[in-house]
């Protein structure tokens, strides 16, 4: 990519990203949203988190992988249990990362 193309790339990406984020924020607040819609929006955080997590754990290689050699799935389960027991986000990240790296080393040693 030439530096001129890069310039237009950054400009275009900046415009569309801000164009998605800001107008809704600016306009929607001016209207009274239906109560049902407001209630429904409470489900956005868990839904979007799951929609990001599920493919990352279940199909790290692009297709569904339920095998024990899938370190993403195994460490994901360990992280989930840690979070459930402790409700501690930082601890969950640390335990999950260690579990992930350890699982890969173990599987690698067996293979």
């Amino acid at each position: 990519m030439t530096s001129q193309q890069e310039f237009w790339l950054i400009l275009g990406m900046t415009a569309v990203t801000f164009g998605v984020r800001y107008p809704v924020l600016a306009l929607v607040g001016r209207f009274e949203l239906p109560h049902r819609l407001m209630e429904a929006m409470r489900f956005i955080p868990p839904a979007v988190l799951t929609a990001i997590i599920a493919p990352a754990l279940l199909m790290p290689g692009g297709s569904v992988d339920f095998d024990y050699t899938n370190a993403y799935l195994a460490a994901g389960i360990i992280a989930g249990l840690t979070s459930w027991r402790t409700k501690n986000l930082l601890l969950t990240i640390v335990v999950g990362m260690i579990a992930f790296l350890a699982w890969r080393v173990l599987i690698g040693a067996m293979g």
């Binding site: 990519m1 990406m13 998605v20 929607v28 949203l33 979007v48 929609a51």
Partner: protein, 245 residues
């Protein structure tokens, strides 16, 4: 009485803002930790894929959208044109419209300059901690300072990590082999699990998860948006039935 207390009120207002700001920073800390590898990998992948260090840094400074930046770097490396990448960025970022719609009712009282600034700094991470803050019942009028603290922390960290990634460059050419690509999902697991407190939420999560896997092959993360909407619809329907019963 009103005269005597106005100075104190003004003082406590600014103290409250500073406190909100600090709380926003603190609540975002674990998410910043999770975003560190993500930012470093972005910097490394982008320059390895042929973007100049200047363009890579500019993308983090001006676009500030993690997953869209990743997709853009990948497309640029594959030789895609500017128009295609910009269009893809738009689609990948569509979920931010959902975030904005859910935040907007809480932010009606803010002037446009605040909305523009916080809109620019809206990310998955800040959305998640900020909407949680807005959901708390206390009547603080300064929750946008919490947002500001969260957003500035995420933004500063993203710039630093991009810079480190650019410098590290070739050293981490294959991030998956380092296991750093697990940092983001594990962070999100730690946020998700404590939310699973009611049947509608659990149903929402099951539907969103299965749909996300089923629709994963759709281009431009459209599957992510479809899965989110299906999950939200499921949760909302069950919630309504529960309310009626």
């Amino acid at each position: 009485m009103p005269h005597a207390s106005s100075a104190t009120t003004e003082h406590s207002r600014s103290a409250n803002r500073a406190q909100e700001f600090r709380r926003g920073v603190r609540a975002t800390f674990p998410l910043v930790v999770g975003a560190i590898p993500f930012g470093i990998i972005f910097g490394a992948v982008a320059v390895n894929g042929g973007l100049s260090p200047q363009a890579t840094m500019a993308m983090s400074l001006f676009v500030f959208a993690g997953s869209a930046q990743f997709v853009a770097a990948g497309l640029a490396a594959a030789g895609a044109g500017v128009a295609i990448i910009v269009l893809t960025t738009f689609v990948v970022n569509l979920r931010h419209a959902l975030y904005a719609a859910s935040l907007a009712p809480h932010m009606k009282h803010l002037p446009q300059r605040w909305l523009a600034l916080l809109g620019f700094w809206l990310t998955d991470e800040s959305y998640l901690v900020v909407i949680d803050r807005y959901a708390q019942a206390d009547d603080s009028r300064d929750k946008h300072w919490f947002f500001l603290g969260s957003a500035l922390f995420m933004y500063t960290n993203w710039q630093l990590c991009t810079y480190i990634g650019i410098r590290a460059g070739q050293a981490i050419a294959d991030p998956a082999s380092w296991g750093l690509d697990f940092a983001l999902p594990v962070t999100f697991i730690g946020m998700l699990v404590p939310m699973l407190r009611s049947r509608p939420v659990v149903a929402c999560v099951l539907v969103a998860g299965v749909s996300a896997v089923l629709f994963h092959s759709l281009p431009n993360q459209l599957g992510l948006i479809i899965a989110t909407l299906l999950g939200v619809a499921t949760g909302a329907l069950l919630q309504k039935r529960k309310a009626k019963a």
